[in-house]
Subunit: 232 residues, 2 copies
Amino acid sequence: MSEVTRPTLSDALTERMLELIRTGGHRPGDRLPSTRELSQRFAVTTPTLREALRRLEATGAIEMRHGSGIYVGAAIERLVLPNPNMREIRAAQLLELLDARIVIEPPLAAMAAGRAAEEELTALKQALDTAGRHLRGEDAELHDANMSFHRATARMAGNVVLHEVVDALLTVHGPEQREILQLFDDRRRDHEEHLAILAAIEARDAAQAEERMRAHLVDVKTVIEQRVQSPR
Amino acid sequence: MSEVTRPTLSDALTERMLELIRTGGHRPGDRLPSTRELSQRFAVTTPTLREALRRLEATGAIEMRHGSGIYVGAAIERLVLPNPNMREIRAAQLLELLDARIVIEPPLAAMAAGRAAEEELTALKQALDTAGRHLRGEDAELHDANMSFHRATARMAGNVVLHEVVDALLTVHGPEQREILQLFDDRRRDHEEHLAILAAIEARDAAQAEERMRAHLVDVKTVIEQRVQSPR
Protein backbone atom coordinates (compact mmCIF):
# COMPACT_ATOMS: atom_id res chain seq x y z
CA MET A 1 0.00 0.00 0.00
CA SER A 2 1.37 3.41 -0.84
CA GLU A 3 2.24 5.65 2.04
CA VAL A 4 -0.23 8.40 1.29
CA THR A 5 -3.57 6.91 0.34
CA ARG A 6 -6.69 8.34 -1.25
CA PRO A 7 -5.39 11.71 -2.43
CA THR A 8 -7.84 11.74 -5.30
CA LEU A 9 -10.78 10.81 -3.13
CA SER A 10 -9.99 13.57 -0.66
CA ASP A 11 -9.69 16.10 -3.51
CA ALA A 12 -12.97 14.93 -4.99
CA LEU A 13 -14.76 15.12 -1.65
CA THR A 14 -13.50 18.66 -1.07
CA GLU A 15 -14.90 19.64 -4.47
CA ARG A 16 -18.24 18.01 -3.71
CA MET A 17 -18.49 19.82 -0.38
CA LEU A 18 -17.78 23.16 -2.09
CA GLU A 19 -20.37 22.32 -4.73
CA LEU A 20 -22.90 21.42 -2.05
CA ILE A 21 -22.35 24.81 -0.38
CA ARG A 22 -22.51 26.69 -3.69
CA THR A 23 -25.49 24.97 -5.25
CA GLY A 24 -27.34 24.97 -1.92
CA GLY A 25 -27.01 28.75 -1.85
CA HIS A 26 -25.49 28.50 1.64
CA ARG A 27 -24.01 31.63 3.15
CA PRO A 28 -21.40 32.09 5.88
CA GLY A 29 -22.94 31.04 9.20
CA ASP A 30 -25.42 28.59 7.62
CA ARG A 31 -25.52 25.15 9.13
CA LEU A 32 -24.54 22.22 6.91
CA PRO A 33 -25.63 18.56 7.17
CA SER A 34 -24.02 16.48 9.92
CA THR A 35 -20.91 14.38 9.30
CA ARG A 36 -23.17 11.35 9.46
CA GLU A 37 -25.48 12.67 6.76
CA LEU A 38 -22.57 13.81 4.64
CA SER A 39 -20.75 10.48 4.78
CA GLN A 40 -23.98 8.74 3.75
CA ARG A 41 -24.63 11.21 0.95
CA PHE A 42 -21.09 10.91 -0.44
CA ALA A 43 -20.86 7.17 0.34
CA VAL A 44 -17.55 7.48 2.18
CA THR A 45 -16.36 6.49 5.63
CA THR A 46 -16.28 9.07 8.40
CA PRO A 47 -12.45 9.25 8.56
CA THR A 48 -12.29 9.94 4.83
CA LEU A 49 -14.98 12.59 5.06
CA ARG A 50 -13.24 14.16 8.00
CA GLU A 51 -10.02 14.59 6.00
CA ALA A 52 -11.91 16.69 3.47
CA LEU A 53 -13.64 18.64 6.24
CA ARG A 54 -10.32 19.45 7.91
CA ARG A 55 -8.98 20.78 4.61
CA LEU A 56 -11.98 23.07 4.30
CA GLU A 57 -11.73 24.05 7.93
CA ALA A 58 -8.03 24.93 7.62
CA THR A 59 -8.84 27.45 4.89
CA GLY A 60 -11.91 28.93 6.62
CA ALA A 61 -14.47 27.52 4.17
CA ILE A 62 -16.26 25.71 6.99
CA GLU A 63 -16.28 25.88 10.77
CA MET A 64 -16.57 22.73 12.82
CA ARG A 65 -18.03 23.60 16.20
CA HIS A 66 -17.51 20.97 18.84
CA GLY A 67 -20.78 19.38 19.84
CA SER A 68 -22.76 21.65 17.57
CA GLY A 69 -22.13 20.91 13.91
CA ILE A 70 -20.63 22.16 10.69
CA TYR A 71 -21.21 25.69 9.44
CA VAL A 72 -20.21 27.64 6.34
CA GLY A 73 -17.12 29.70 7.28
CA ALA A 74 -16.71 33.44 6.93
CA ALA A 75 -13.60 33.04 4.76
CA ILE A 76 -15.26 31.00 2.01
CA GLU A 77 -15.79 34.10 -0.16
CA ARG A 78 -12.42 35.69 0.50
CA LEU A 79 -9.88 35.88 -2.30
CA VAL A 80 -6.87 36.25 -0.02
CA LEU A 81 -6.14 34.54 3.31
CA PRO A 82 -3.53 35.00 6.02
CA ASN A 83 -1.32 31.92 6.32
CA PRO A 84 -2.70 30.11 9.40
CA ASN A 85 0.59 28.22 9.84
CA MET A 86 2.75 31.29 10.45
CA ARG A 87 4.06 30.92 14.01
CA GLU A 88 7.07 33.18 14.20
CA ILE A 89 8.10 35.90 11.84
CA ARG A 90 11.75 36.66 11.18
CA ALA A 91 12.97 40.23 11.64
CA ALA A 92 13.65 40.64 7.92
CA GLN A 93 10.13 39.44 7.10
CA LEU A 94 8.64 41.84 9.61
CA LEU A 95 10.38 44.79 7.97
CA GLU A 96 9.24 43.62 4.52
CA LEU A 97 5.72 43.37 5.91
CA LEU A 98 5.92 46.98 7.04
CA ASP A 99 7.24 48.02 3.62
CA ALA A 100 4.28 46.24 2.05
CA ARG A 101 1.88 48.09 4.35
CA ILE A 102 3.62 51.37 3.44
CA VAL A 103 2.76 50.69 -0.22
CA ILE A 104 -0.82 49.53 0.34
CA GLU A 105 -2.32 51.41 3.27
CA PRO A 106 -1.66 55.09 2.36
CA PRO A 107 -3.71 54.97 -0.87
CA LEU A 108 -6.48 53.25 1.12
CA ALA A 109 -6.52 56.15 3.59
CA ALA A 110 -6.93 58.48 0.59
CA MET A 111 -9.79 56.35 -0.75
CA ALA A 112 -11.39 56.35 2.70
CA ALA A 113 -11.29 60.15 2.76
CA GLY A 114 -13.20 60.12 -0.50
CA ARG A 115 -15.97 57.74 0.50
CA ALA A 116 -16.20 56.87 4.21
CA ALA A 117 -19.78 57.03 5.52
CA GLU A 118 -20.51 59.22 8.54
CA GLU A 119 -21.53 56.20 10.64
CA GLU A 120 -18.22 54.51 9.88
CA LEU A 121 -16.32 57.60 10.96
CA THR A 122 -18.32 57.84 14.18
CA ALA A 123 -17.64 54.17 14.96
CA LEU A 124 -13.95 54.59 14.27
CA LYS A 125 -13.79 57.70 16.47
CA GLN A 126 -15.34 55.69 19.31
CA ALA A 127 -12.87 52.85 18.77
CA LEU A 128 -9.98 55.34 18.97
CA ASP A 129 -11.41 56.89 22.14
CA THR A 130 -11.48 53.41 23.67
CA ALA A 131 -7.87 52.85 22.58
CA GLY A 132 -6.97 56.22 24.13
CA ARG A 133 -8.28 55.05 27.49
CA HIS A 134 -6.14 51.90 27.32
CA LEU A 135 -2.80 53.53 26.66
CA ARG A 136 -1.60 52.33 30.05
CA GLY A 137 -3.65 49.16 30.02
CA GLU A 138 -3.15 45.64 28.80
CA ASP A 139 -1.03 45.14 25.72
CA ALA A 140 -3.53 42.81 24.11
CA GLU A 141 -6.47 45.25 24.38
CA LEU A 142 -4.52 48.18 23.04
CA HIS A 143 -3.12 46.05 20.27
CA ASP A 144 -6.60 44.97 19.21
CA ALA A 145 -7.79 48.58 19.23
CA ASN A 146 -4.83 49.65 17.10
CA MET A 147 -5.28 46.87 14.59
CA SER A 148 -8.98 47.73 14.46
CA PHE A 149 -8.03 51.23 13.38
CA HIS A 150 -6.02 49.93 10.43
CA ARG A 151 -8.67 47.38 9.47
CA ALA A 152 -11.42 50.00 9.70
CA THR A 153 -9.49 52.44 7.50
CA ALA A 154 -9.01 49.72 4.91
CA ARG A 155 -12.71 48.83 5.10
CA MET A 156 -13.76 52.47 4.63
CA ALA A 157 -11.77 52.56 1.39
CA GLY A 158 -14.64 50.49 0.01
CA ASN A 159 -12.73 47.73 -1.79
CA VAL A 160 -13.35 44.27 -0.34
CA VAL A 161 -10.22 42.73 -1.87
CA LEU A 162 -7.90 45.41 -0.50
CA HIS A 163 -9.58 45.08 2.88
CA GLU A 164 -8.86 41.34 2.79
CA VAL A 165 -5.24 41.99 1.88
CA VAL A 166 -4.76 44.43 4.76
CA ASP A 167 -6.60 42.07 7.12
CA ALA A 168 -4.29 39.23 6.07
CA LEU A 169 -1.18 41.38 6.61
CA LEU A 170 -2.37 42.56 10.03
CA THR A 171 -3.27 39.03 11.10
CA VAL A 172 0.22 37.63 10.58
CA HIS A 173 1.61 40.83 12.03
CA GLY A 174 -0.04 40.34 15.42
CA PRO A 175 2.43 39.10 18.03
CA GLU A 176 5.36 41.23 16.92
CA GLN A 177 3.32 44.42 16.78
CA ARG A 178 2.24 43.65 20.33
CA GLU A 179 5.83 43.44 21.47
CA ILE A 180 6.60 46.81 19.93
CA LEU A 181 3.73 48.40 21.82
CA GLN A 182 5.45 47.66 25.09
CA LEU A 183 7.38 50.89 24.73
CA PHE A 184 4.99 53.41 26.17
CA ASP A 185 6.31 56.38 24.17
CA ASP A 186 5.37 54.64 20.97
CA ARG A 187 1.90 53.88 22.28
CA ARG A 188 1.19 57.55 22.85
CA ARG A 189 2.66 58.60 19.48
CA ASP A 190 0.91 55.75 17.66
CA HIS A 191 -2.39 56.84 19.11
CA GLU A 192 -1.87 60.49 18.23
CA GLU A 193 -0.93 59.56 14.68
CA HIS A 194 -4.11 57.49 14.38
CA LEU A 195 -6.16 60.49 15.54
CA ALA A 196 -4.43 62.71 12.98
CA ILE A 197 -5.16 60.25 10.16
CA LEU A 198 -8.81 60.06 11.20
CA ALA A 199 -9.00 63.87 11.30
CA ALA A 200 -7.75 64.05 7.70
CA ILE A 201 -10.28 61.41 6.60
CA GLU A 202 -13.07 63.30 8.39
CA ALA A 203 -11.96 66.51 6.66
CA ARG A 204 -12.20 64.58 3.35
CA ASP A 205 -8.60 65.54 2.63
CA ALA A 206 -7.38 62.57 0.61
CA ALA A 207 -3.81 63.81 0.09
CA GLN A 208 -3.33 64.55 3.77
CA ALA A 209 -4.87 61.24 4.88
CA GLU A 210 -2.50 59.41 2.52
CA GLU A 211 0.54 61.35 3.67
CA ARG A 212 -0.27 60.91 7.36
CA MET A 213 -0.83 57.18 6.98
CA ARG A 214 2.50 56.87 5.17
CA ALA A 215 4.36 58.92 7.80
CA HIS A 216 2.73 56.84 10.55
CA LEU A 217 3.75 53.51 9.06
CA VAL A 218 7.27 54.79 8.37
CA ASP A 219 7.43 55.74 12.08
CA VAL A 220 6.27 52.25 13.07
CA LYS A 221 8.89 50.73 10.81
CA THR A 222 11.62 52.94 12.28
CA VAL A 223 10.71 51.75 15.79
CA ILE A 224 10.79 48.13 14.67
CA GLU A 225 14.14 48.61 12.92
CA GLN A 226 15.63 50.02 16.12
CA ARG A 227 14.25 47.10 18.11
CA VAL A 228 15.58 44.58 15.64
CA GLN A 229 19.04 46.15 15.77
CA SER A 230 19.14 46.42 19.57
CA PRO A 231 16.72 43.97 21.16
CA ARG A 232 16.32 44.33 24.91
CA MET B 1 -20.78 11.12 21.10
CA SER B 2 -20.61 14.64 19.79
CA GLU B 3 -20.91 15.11 16.08
CA VAL B 4 -17.49 16.60 15.52
CA THR B 5 -14.92 14.73 17.52
CA ARG B 6 -11.33 15.42 18.48
CA PRO B 7 -11.07 19.09 17.50
CA THR B 8 -8.48 19.69 20.19
CA LEU B 9 -6.42 16.69 19.21
CA SER B 10 -6.38 17.76 15.56
CA ASP B 11 -5.33 21.29 16.56
CA ALA B 12 -2.60 19.93 18.81
CA LEU B 13 -1.31 17.59 16.12
CA THR B 14 -1.15 20.42 13.60
CA GLU B 15 0.92 22.42 16.07
CA ARG B 16 3.24 19.49 16.71
CA MET B 17 3.77 18.97 12.98
CA LEU B 18 4.63 22.65 12.53
CA GLU B 19 6.99 22.44 15.49
CA LEU B 20 8.63 19.34 14.03
CA ILE B 21 9.25 21.21 10.77
CA ARG B 22 10.51 24.32 12.53
CA THR B 23 12.76 22.71 15.13
CA GLY B 24 14.06 20.22 12.57
CA GLY B 25 15.20 23.13 10.42
CA HIS B 26 13.30 21.67 7.47
CA ARG B 27 12.98 23.78 4.36
CA PRO B 28 10.45 23.68 1.51
CA GLY B 29 11.06 20.51 -0.50
CA ASP B 30 12.54 18.56 2.42
CA ARG B 31 11.12 15.13 3.03
CA LEU B 32 9.35 14.50 6.35
CA PRO B 33 8.90 11.19 8.19
CA SER B 34 6.29 8.79 6.81
CA THR B 35 2.71 8.73 8.10
CA ARG B 36 3.56 5.51 9.86
CA GLU B 37 6.52 7.04 11.68
CA LEU B 38 4.55 10.19 12.49
CA SER B 39 1.59 8.32 13.95
CA GLN B 40 3.98 6.32 16.12
CA ARG B 41 5.87 9.40 17.22
CA PHE B 42 2.70 11.29 18.14
CA ALA B 43 0.94 8.16 19.45
CA VAL B 44 -2.19 8.70 17.36
CA THR B 45 -4.08 6.57 14.85
CA THR B 46 -3.47 7.05 11.15
CA PRO B 47 -6.92 8.61 10.45
CA THR B 48 -6.36 11.17 13.20
CA LEU B 49 -2.90 12.00 11.91
CA ARG B 50 -4.24 12.28 8.40
CA GLU B 51 -6.76 14.93 9.45
CA ALA B 52 -3.92 17.12 10.68
CA LEU B 53 -1.91 16.42 7.52
CA ARG B 54 -4.84 17.45 5.30
CA ARG B 55 -5.14 20.73 7.18
CA LEU B 56 -1.48 21.44 6.57
CA GLU B 57 -1.75 20.31 2.98
CA ALA B 58 -4.75 22.59 2.33
CA THR B 59 -2.71 25.62 3.37
CA GLY B 60 0.44 24.62 1.50
CA ALA B 61 2.55 23.86 4.59
CA ILE B 62 3.13 20.31 3.40
CA GLU B 63 2.77 18.40 0.15
CA MET B 64 1.54 14.81 0.16
CA ARG B 65 2.84 13.07 -2.95
CA HIS B 66 1.06 9.89 -3.79
CA GLY B 67 3.30 6.89 -3.42
CA SER B 68 6.26 9.06 -2.46
CA GLY B 69 5.82 10.70 0.90
CA ILE B 70 5.31 13.94 2.74
CA TYR B 71 7.36 17.04 1.95
CA VAL B 72 7.58 20.55 3.37
CA GLY B 73 5.45 22.79 1.14
CA ALA B 74 6.57 25.93 -0.65
CA ALA B 75 3.82 28.00 1.01
CA ILE B 76 4.87 27.32 4.60
CA GLU B 77 6.80 30.61 4.82
CA ARG B 78 4.26 32.74 3.00
CA LEU B 79 2.36 35.37 4.92
CA VAL B 80 -0.52 35.61 2.46
CA LEU B 81 -2.26 32.82 0.52
CA PRO B 82 -4.79 32.72 -2.30
CA ASN B 83 -8.04 31.12 -1.14
CA PRO B 84 -7.85 27.57 -2.56
CA ASN B 85 -11.64 27.20 -2.31
CA MET B 86 -12.49 29.98 -4.74
CA ARG B 87 -14.24 28.33 -7.67
CA GLU B 88 -16.16 31.06 -9.42
CA ILE B 89 -15.76 34.77 -9.04
CA ARG B 90 -18.73 37.11 -9.35
CA ALA B 91 -18.50 40.02 -11.78
CA ALA B 92 -18.54 42.59 -8.98
CA GLN B 93 -15.70 40.77 -7.23
CA LEU B 94 -13.68 40.63 -10.45
CA LEU B 95 -13.93 44.40 -10.87
CA GLU B 96 -12.94 44.93 -7.24
CA LEU B 97 -10.00 42.64 -7.83
CA LEU B 98 -8.90 44.80 -10.76
CA ASP B 99 -9.29 47.94 -8.62
CA ALA B 100 -7.09 46.29 -5.99
CA ARG B 101 -4.46 45.51 -8.61
CA ILE B 102 -4.65 49.13 -9.85
CA VAL B 103 -3.69 50.25 -6.32
CA ILE B 104 -0.94 47.69 -5.73
CA GLU B 105 0.81 46.94 -9.03
CA PRO B 106 1.75 50.41 -10.32
CA PRO B 107 3.97 51.28 -7.30
CA LEU B 108 5.58 47.84 -7.72
CA ALA B 109 6.45 48.67 -11.33
CA ALA B 110 8.09 51.86 -10.04
CA MET B 111 10.04 49.88 -7.42
CA ALA B 112 11.09 47.38 -10.11
CA ALA B 113 12.47 50.23 -12.24
CA GLY B 114 14.60 51.22 -9.27
CA ARG B 115 16.08 47.82 -8.50
CA ALA B 116 15.50 45.09 -11.07
CA ALA B 117 18.65 43.09 -11.83
CA GLU B 118 19.79 42.80 -15.45
CA GLU B 119 19.30 39.01 -15.44
CA GLU B 120 15.70 39.46 -14.29
CA LEU B 121 15.07 41.92 -17.10
CA THR B 122 16.58 39.57 -19.67
CA ALA B 123 14.43 36.68 -18.42
CA LEU B 124 11.31 38.82 -18.51
CA LYS B 125 12.11 39.99 -22.04
CA GLN B 126 12.39 36.37 -23.13
CA ALA B 127 9.08 35.53 -21.45
CA LEU B 128 7.40 38.39 -23.31
CA ASP B 129 8.93 37.26 -26.61
CA THR B 130 7.43 33.82 -25.98
CA ALA B 131 4.07 35.41 -25.24
CA GLY B 132 4.36 37.44 -28.43
CA ARG B 133 4.72 34.23 -30.46
CA HIS B 134 1.55 32.81 -28.87
CA LEU B 135 -0.80 35.69 -29.61
CA ARG B 136 -2.77 33.42 -31.92
CA GLY B 137 -2.10 30.28 -29.93
CA GLU B 138 -3.77 28.50 -27.07
CA ASP B 139 -5.53 30.61 -24.46
CA ALA B 140 -3.95 28.77 -21.57
CA GLU B 141 -0.36 29.30 -22.76
CA LEU B 142 -0.84 32.98 -23.49
CA HIS B 143 -2.62 33.44 -20.19
CA ASP B 144 0.28 31.85 -18.31
CA ALA B 145 2.77 34.06 -20.12
CA ASN B 146 0.74 37.17 -19.29
CA MET B 147 0.36 36.29 -15.65
CA SER B 148 4.10 35.54 -15.56
CA PHE B 149 4.73 39.11 -16.66
CA HIS B 150 2.74 40.53 -13.74
CA ARG B 151 4.29 38.10 -11.24
CA ALA B 152 7.79 38.87 -12.53
CA THR B 153 7.24 42.62 -12.24
CA ALA B 154 6.04 42.18 -8.64
CA ARG B 155 9.07 39.97 -7.89
CA MET B 156 11.50 42.52 -9.36
CA ALA B 157 10.11 45.11 -6.94
CA GLY B 158 12.08 43.21 -4.32
CA ASN B 159 9.48 42.86 -1.55
CA VAL B 160 8.53 39.25 -0.83
CA VAL B 161 5.26 40.13 0.91
CA LEU B 162 4.02 42.30 -1.96
CA HIS B 163 5.01 39.58 -4.40
CA GLU B 164 2.91 37.12 -2.38
CA VAL B 165 -0.03 39.51 -2.41
CA VAL B 166 0.14 39.97 -6.19
CA ASP B 167 0.61 36.22 -6.66
CA ALA B 168 -2.47 35.56 -4.53
CA LEU B 169 -4.54 38.08 -6.51
CA LEU B 170 -3.42 36.64 -9.85
CA THR B 171 -4.08 33.08 -8.74
CA VAL B 172 -7.74 33.67 -7.95
CA HIS B 173 -7.93 35.80 -11.04
CA GLY B 174 -7.02 32.99 -13.39
CA PRO B 175 -10.05 31.59 -15.18
CA GLU B 176 -11.78 34.91 -15.78
CA GLN B 177 -8.68 36.57 -17.13
CA ARG B 178 -8.40 33.68 -19.55
CA GLU B 179 -11.90 34.32 -20.82
CA ILE B 180 -11.11 37.96 -21.44
CA LEU B 181 -8.11 37.03 -23.54
CA GLN B 182 -10.34 35.37 -26.08
CA LEU B 183 -10.80 38.71 -27.77
CA PHE B 184 -7.81 38.93 -30.04
CA ASP B 185 -7.68 42.72 -30.11
CA ASP B 186 -7.11 42.77 -26.38
CA ARG B 187 -4.40 40.14 -26.68
CA ARG B 188 -2.41 42.32 -29.02
CA ARG B 189 -2.92 45.47 -26.97
CA ASP B 190 -2.20 43.65 -23.71
CA HIS B 191 1.07 42.40 -25.14
CA GLU B 192 2.11 45.80 -26.42
CA GLU B 193 1.32 47.39 -23.09
CA HIS B 194 3.46 44.78 -21.34
CA LEU B 195 6.35 45.58 -23.69
CA ALA B 196 5.95 49.30 -22.96
CA ILE B 197 6.00 48.70 -19.19
CA LEU B 198 9.13 46.57 -19.52
CA ALA B 199 10.78 49.28 -21.64
CA ALA B 200 10.14 51.84 -18.88
CA ILE B 201 11.56 49.48 -16.23
CA GLU B 202 14.63 48.85 -18.41
CA ALA B 203 15.08 52.60 -18.82
CA ARG B 204 14.95 52.84 -14.99
CA ASP B 205 12.13 55.36 -15.35
CA ALA B 206 10.09 54.71 -12.21
CA ALA B 207 7.39 57.32 -12.88
CA GLN B 208 6.80 56.07 -16.41
CA ALA B 209 6.76 52.41 -15.34
CA GLU B 210 4.17 53.22 -12.68
CA GLU B 211 2.02 55.25 -15.04
CA ARG B 212 2.14 52.60 -17.80
CA MET B 213 1.24 49.82 -15.39
CA ARG B 214 -1.69 51.86 -14.11
CA ALA B 215 -2.91 52.69 -17.63
CA HIS B 216 -2.56 49.02 -18.62
CA LEU B 217 -4.63 47.74 -15.69
CA VAL B 218 -7.26 50.43 -16.24
CA ASP B 219 -7.47 49.21 -19.85
CA VAL B 220 -7.90 45.61 -18.66
CA LYS B 221 -10.61 46.73 -16.25
CA THR B 222 -12.42 48.62 -19.02
CA VAL B 223 -12.47 45.50 -21.18
CA ILE B 224 -13.83 43.45 -18.30
CA GLU B 225 -16.50 46.03 -17.51
CA GLN B 226 -17.67 45.94 -21.10
CA ARG B 227 -17.78 42.14 -21.03
CA VAL B 228 -19.69 42.13 -17.74
CA GLN B 229 -22.25 44.55 -19.13
CA SER B 230 -22.70 42.74 -22.45
CA PRO B 231 -21.64 39.08 -22.16
CA ARG B 232 -21.57 37.18 -25.41
